[in-house]
């Protein structure tokens, strides 16, 4: 059941990976269909909230406040969680977090774990580490199960198997669960998964999860989900280990009032998540007998230190930005080469995994702003993308062709004289590439107007060649506006 995880350190550039995705017609159809369905559900439920913009602002403030006082709330969480009988572990990076979880499984003698869907355990590639230590991890989220059985990779933060359709899922289940007669209705597939998973829930004594929120005031962890499989993992095992990013803390229990409203509506287009579980330590006769939280930094403090990038950590992983993104719509998630795909992935991955591994991601956006518009905690993703692009440019050498060109153009724009000269020069330079079109017969010569187009360019060299692969470019007219204005 091993698969190669998405890893920005080894992934190809977005441009290269996108080419592959764009050729997969089935994948694109699946992604378009699924994102359209979720978007429509979200829109309906957001529109019914008259105070949606106020809720967004409240969500932003709660998250921004938590981040501004992170050390206070994390320590408060530690005190209250420990008092409730939990054991807290601090992990500086992915490796430390892996080691802690592996050590805990060794201590209790577990050779298998059941998992709730979790982005942090994907981020630290926990399943691989567990496997290397001889511990089998079973994903119990339906979509994660599909991914795991299909030896695939998640392509969406909330709906990781969004790129698969029912027929494809049926094939995976038939093959991996040995069910030759399986039907392809949602009922058939859910039944198969239920039978497959139920046995694991009853047998496996250790659960591994992430968390949606850590509540500082109570020391509780909050996990929301749609299937109930998560709650199985929370209630059945003797030991629960939650791996949670340090940014997930919120100050008060009451803050959930805002967070749960915006999260469910944004993520799945539901008024409330079907399963909202809050666990606070251990209780005799109820739930796990031992509870661990591994608090994961993994470069989050570096992101926090960057004034312009910091807002990225406000993210509550609703994936509304993925569903709204016209780029994600075309490529799906795998092209991003990271467990965090889409617009949020394009800003989170380079900041967390290092700019050198994800230089193409800040450019994987047309800056259309659809992500910012739907973000329930108002992360200005386009602004952060531009900030990260600046960082990429700063890292590139002066000899990079694009940089040389951009600097030259900037010099042109700094002087009206140079600008005019460049306009003339441009017209001369493009002339050999311009195809004039024949005047259509029978057209009237119009008074006071140019009667033919300046012509079209169908091929451009070098950096600009991508344009003319599918598009023509209108050539420059003989007279610029300022020339006309002066003669007027």
């Amino acid at each position: 059941m091993s698969r190669i995880p998405l890893d920005p350190r080894t992934a190809p550039s977005f441009q290269t990976a996108a080419k592959v995705s764009l050729q997969d017609a089935q994948l694109r159809k699946n992604v378009k269909h699924a994102t359209e369905v979720i978007q429509a559900k979200r829109k309906k439920l957001v529109d019914e909230k008259k105070d949606w913009q106020e809720l967004r602002e409240a969500g932003r403030q709660i998250r921004a406040h938590s981040l501004a006082h992170l050390e206070i709330y994390l320590e408060e969480f530690e005190r209250n969680f420990t008092r409730a009988g939990g054991v807290l572990h601090w992990a500086r990076d992915a490796k430390e977090a892996q080691e802690i979880v592996v050590r805990l499984t060794k201590e209790i003698g577990a050779d298998e774990v059941i998992k709730i869907k979790s982005m942090t355990t994907e981020e630290i590639q926990l399943n691989r580490a567990l496997e290397a230590a001889g511990v089998k991890a079973y994903e119990t989220d339906l979509a994660e199960l599909i991914i795991q059985l299909g030896e695939d990779q998640p392509s969406h933060i909330v709906v990781p198997a969004l790129h698969k359709n029912r027929a494809q899922i049926r094939e995976i289940f038939m093959r991996e669960m040995d069910l030759p007669d399986l039907g392809d209705t949602p009922q058939d597939l859910a039944d198969a998964a239920r039978t497959f998973l139920r046995e694991k829930f009853l047998r496996v004594k250790t659960g591994v999860s992430g968390a949606n929120f850590l509540i500082a005031e109570t020391g509780g962890i909050c996990i929301v989900e749609s299937e109930g499989n998560g709650r199985m993992c929370l209630t059945m095992p003797e030991t629960l280990i939650a791996v949670v990013g340090i940014e997930k803390v919120i100050p008060r229990f009451q803050d959930l009032e805002v967070m749960l409203q915006i999260l469910a509506r944004s993520a799945t287009g539901e008024r409330m998540n079907p399963y909202n579980s809050i666990w606070t330590g251990v209780h005799e006769g109820d739930g796990p007998k031992a509870m661990h939280v591994v608090l994961l930094d993994n470069a989050r403090t570096d992101v926090l230190a960057d004034g312009e990038g910091r807002q990225t950590l406000q993210c509550i992983r609703c994936a509304a930005c993925l569903n709204a993104c016209p780029v994600y719509r075309q490529t799906g998630g795998h092209a991003y080469g990271s467990v965090y795909a889409g617009p949020i992935g394009a800003i989170l991955t380079p900041q967390m995994m290092g700019m050198e591994h994800a230089q193409s991601l800040p450019y994987a956006s047309s800056l259309c702003g659809a992500c910012y518009e739907v973000c329930p905690v108002k992360i200005n993703i386009p602004e952060v993308l531009i900030h990260l692009r600046h960082k990429v440019v700063e890292r590139s050498g002066w000899w990079a062709p694009e940089k040389v060109a951009m600097k030259a153009v900037a010099a042109v724009f700094r002087s009206e004289k140079r600008f005019r000269a460049a306009q003339r020069l441009g017209r001369m330079a493009e002339a050999p590439l311009v195809k004039k079109e024949k005047q259509v017969e029978g057209l009237v010569q119009l008074k006071g107007s140019e009667t033919t187009t300046p012509g079209w360019i169908g091929w451009l060299p070098g950096l600009m060649g991508g344009w003319t692969d599918t598009r023509d470019l209108q050539a420059m007219p003989k007279e610029t506006f300022r020339d006309w204005w002066e003669k007027r």
């Binding site: 996108a18 600046h390 724009f413 009206e416 119009l446 107007s449 140019e450 079209w456 023509d472 506006f481």
Partner: protein
Amino acid sequence: MKVALFITCYNDTLFPATGKAVVEVLERLGHTVEFPVGQTCCGQMHWNTGYQDEALPLLERFVTQFEHCEAVVIPSSSCVAMMRDHYVLMAEKIGDPQLMERVKTLLPRVWEFSEFLTKKLGLTDVGAYYPHRVTYHASCHGLRSLHLGDGPMLLLRSVKGIDLVEIANLDRCCGFGGTFAVKNADVSSAMLAEKTLAILDTGAETCAGADNSCLMHIQGALHRQRTGVATMHLAEILAGTEETHQCFVHPKAIDGTGVRV
């Protein structure tokens, strides 16, 4: 009113007809147009591509050229968005409090062409005539940054003779995104393919917009595919009247199998 025109670098070079049309509409409405000659570019391409150091002097240049003006009209929604969304942050980076003050004083007087008509002048009918089937492409910046809303549609709806058809998924990006169109040409083309299909589905002869950069992108595919559909800046549609409209049919429209007057 004395209105200063910031034509923008690419309109100046590639789409002078749009500038002429803006002048025509504003003068017809009784305003005086001035054109500060030192103007070049707002800095959008550099800023959005990550070349901040190169963009900063262009902010100072714009402010110096236009701060004396009563109103600045710009026929390009993304350039206006560039100013509103980033100029304050840019002034902060430059770290000159005086410049910051000048930016903050100037910005409220900067208008995108259609919003100058609808919001500043409170007009929707500017006496235009355009007897063709038209659809409108709402560029992302116009929609989500400037919140132009139905302003451009109201202007178009008031045009005499027009057959205005709404496009499906109006809020979806055409895939231009400045340097995105060449840096991620494949994805950009895939996005554009959906947009051109939506335009063709309307049966429109002309796709209008408030941003020639998106329209240049869309026109690039419409022309490559020999669809016969032309793109045209909103100003060029508004510039035509029953007496003069022939003069303001965009040259692109007479190309190939396009619009005939």
